[in-house]
Symmetry: C2
């Protein structure tokens, strides 16, 4: 084997990084399950017909084909398979396929890899992990779920902040009805075009958005002024409503959107103060949301863009008979973790799960060490037995290199000695019984160290 270079865009971790990712995933799973979200996994492939339905993204899809396709393989293009590029398309298909077996409203979480055939660059990956939560109803889905979804994701992100020192987050929220109603109230017939340009507000600034609106869409200066002014409004209390009213646009859909947004921001800020702001420039340009939309920034790292986004669809999925509205939020796990893990900023306290290395006196007494290890494991203490009956100094070094905090010395059979265990960090060594000794709780499992 000659290729020793990593593949660009396909991040992989050393064990000390993988343990961090697993720790984070465990926190997400625990949080989602506490809120009644059930786990599902979908296959990695969807039909190209399903993947390219929404247009615009077909160039990012990885096509999958059998190396030696034969006459049994379908050659109809729509039956071709591709790797999923998000977890929303597969989930929508899963809901339709299994609707008869699901109870609605159906809450699911899904933590899986997705693939995009993009040119790799900082913060962009070809293979990455997403963690999605969605609540989907049959025909209807009550408004209070627009409060529930962000609260669940914020609770998970808050645990990452308080337990692992990740930056705090601020979720920015808007409502498509508010924007669309406002644009329609201004006499604009194609609100989608405006949304897509307002979506660039953070990147290119208000002036440039104004230019796009007048030059590309032919809006009047007065119309563009007010679209840009709307995008500039944000508040964490009710005051955004007055600011919008001051722009003097009247429209029923606008009123509906103002009311809906106010309810979400008020309810979320009551539950978790300071973590959500109404931000009327949030557009989620190309996605097919129909109501509330969410983006989430890491405070102090706003230039990273949104790490967790989502929104409401009036029809997450639909077939001839039924419509399934949904609201959900996706967390970009790899975007959040890969840079800090790859740079070594975050890692686990040891490179192995073992809390104890059981030393081996002689190869003939390896079974004694194995018995000690079995006894420790039966009480939930992870351990490994030294690979070789080296001198103790060498065995201690073996533990040290792995970050294993304790070395266990079984009493020598010929000397009928007692077992001893050494904390190799402090050098403290005490007599111990494998059937009773416990490491300090903080040493039982590897922890996460470093600064996000």
């Amino acid at each position: 084997m000659a290729r020793l270079k990593p593949l660009s865009g396909f991040p992989e971790f050393l064990p000390q990084g993988q343990m961090v990712e697993n720790h984070v995933i465990r926190i997400l799973e625990e949080t989602f399950e506490l809120h009644g979200f059930a786990p599902i996994n979908t296959r990695a492939v969807e039909t190209m017909e399903s993947l390219t339905r929404k247009g615009e993204i077909d160039k990012e899809v990885y096509v999958v084909s059998r190396l030696q396709a034969d006459e049994h393989d379908s050659h109809r293009e729509k039956d071709q398979l591709g790797l999923h590029f998000d977890l929303t398309v597969p989930f929508a298909r899963y809901v339709l396929e299994n609707a008869g077996h699901l109870q609605f409203p159906f809450r699911r979480y899904q933590i899986q890899k997705v693939w995009r055939g993009e040119r790799p660059q900082e913060g962009r990956y070809r293979e990455f992990t997403q963690a999605d939560i969605d609540i989907v109803g049959s025909e209807t889905l009550a408004d209070h779920h627009d409060v529930e979804a962000p609260l669940v994701m914020l609770e998970a992100l808050e645990r990452l902040h308080t337990e692992l020192g990740f930056p705090p987050v601020l979720m920015h929220v808007n409502n498509r009805k508010l924007s669309e109603g406002f644009y329609r109230g201004l006499g604009i017939e194609e609100p989608a075009g405006v949304l897509q340009r307002v979506d660039k507000y953070d990147k290119i600034g208000p002036q440039a958005v104004h230019e796009l609106l007048t030059e590309e869409l032919g809006l009047s200066d007065a119309q563009a002024d007010r679209c840009v002014a709307l995008a500039g409004i944000s508040s964490s209390d009710h005051s955004f409503i007055e600011q919008v009213r001051d722009l003097g646009v009247a429209n029923d859909m606008l009123e509906e959107g103002l009311d809906a947004l106010d309810r979400v921001v008020t309810a979320v800020n009551r539950a978790v103060p300071g973590r959500m702001v109404a931000d009327l420039k949030i557009a989620r340009g190309l996605d097919y949301y129909t109501g509330t939309v969410y983006e989430t920034e890491l405070v102090g790292h706003e230039s990273m863009g949104s790490v967790s986004s989502g929104g409401r669809y009036d029809a997450l999925a639909s077939d001839e008979k039924h419509t399934y509205p949904g609201v959900g939020i996706s967390l970009g796990l790899t975007r959040l973790l890969a840079p800090v893990i790859s740079r070594g900023q975050l890692g686990s306290t040891r490179t192995v799960p073992s809390a104890v290395l059981v030393a081996v006196n002689t190869e003939e007494e390896r079974d004694v060490s194995e018995a000690v290890a079995a006894s420790l494991r039966s009480r939930g203490i992870a351990c490994e037995v030294a690979p070789k009956a080296d001198k103790y100094g060498k065995q201690i070094k073996h533990a040290d290199r792995r970050g294993i905090p304790f070395v266990w010395f079984p009493g020598r059979r010929d000397q009928q000695g007692a077992d001893e265990v050494k904390d190799i960090r402090s050098g403290d060594q005490i007599s111990a019984d494998a059937a009773a000794w416990n490491p300090p709780a903080a040493d039982l499992r590897p922890g996460v160290v470093g600064q996000w």
Copy 2:
């Protein structure tokens, strides 16, 4: 969306099945980590050069390509990407790529999906999950790891047996040196060809193997007789040694193999009696093992074939400078689970993680129910709030359909009533405080029900 049919060969589960798979994965992870195995995840793709190195399997590989490849994409065939078809090839590549950052012997576990472009049939999948453990050394790897790897896998399988009612297992073990030495002792120059035919012993029987050996390989009747006789030997104690000696073949490599096999079977049966048998027909035909080989049958379901196989490689990986010997075992999780989950034989006790449904008195009092839920969750009790302030009977039905055992009734604000919680299975209803009440431990999380 019109496609409502599942894709053949790509199994997916309903939440109640996914929770079973997750439960099993948790047991595997816990067991592997107790033994000091560290988690890794590798990317889903490898270069075609890497995937087709061993030959024979290229027709099973799924090729991956960007839908709109451009001039930046390499067109050299060896740079093409394919989905990995096992976890051994990626692990070998990972070891070479990261050798400078790993401590040897390096223990890792890896639980991931793999893909094979095979024609789907009963028990064969195009996408399936494997759980692999491997121990890899740098230049050398002591023999005792050939005992360690099967003990770890057997411990995991034993937990599935005792905790979830899976069938008990019997691991069949052989040693390539024993077989090869025996064949060489018979004057056979190409032992690999014999191994590949002996590999069919269980499927086609001793007579047919005899025919293949004489007709396809040109062995004499006497040679074939003894090859078939060797394959027929099995024992869970030392007696296989005498049975082999009785066949009257002398060879140094044979002796080495007999000794190595005896040590593995003796040590494993001392640690977990009755779970391993020396079985000299085990060949692992096409795999490049060089010593111990393992296969594992579910007792009473032998016709399924091996659910967990592996062995030792003198060179799991190697480059110009170094050789990395390894020993490992892979568990076919999907083969083990998908049939029983899909048929509904195994499922979780409820379709959601929630132990409690918090009822809603009126939509105006939804915040009271949310507060109850938050209090329960803060103490680790998964719950969900009823989607609608329906009549209590309807809310109880909502819980019942999900298998949620408890419904919580917050006291009505206007009546200053106390909270009550109802076990909807027994009908028992008691006053309760959300800050103190706990469900019985057995109800805290969904369990697994049914018979494998």
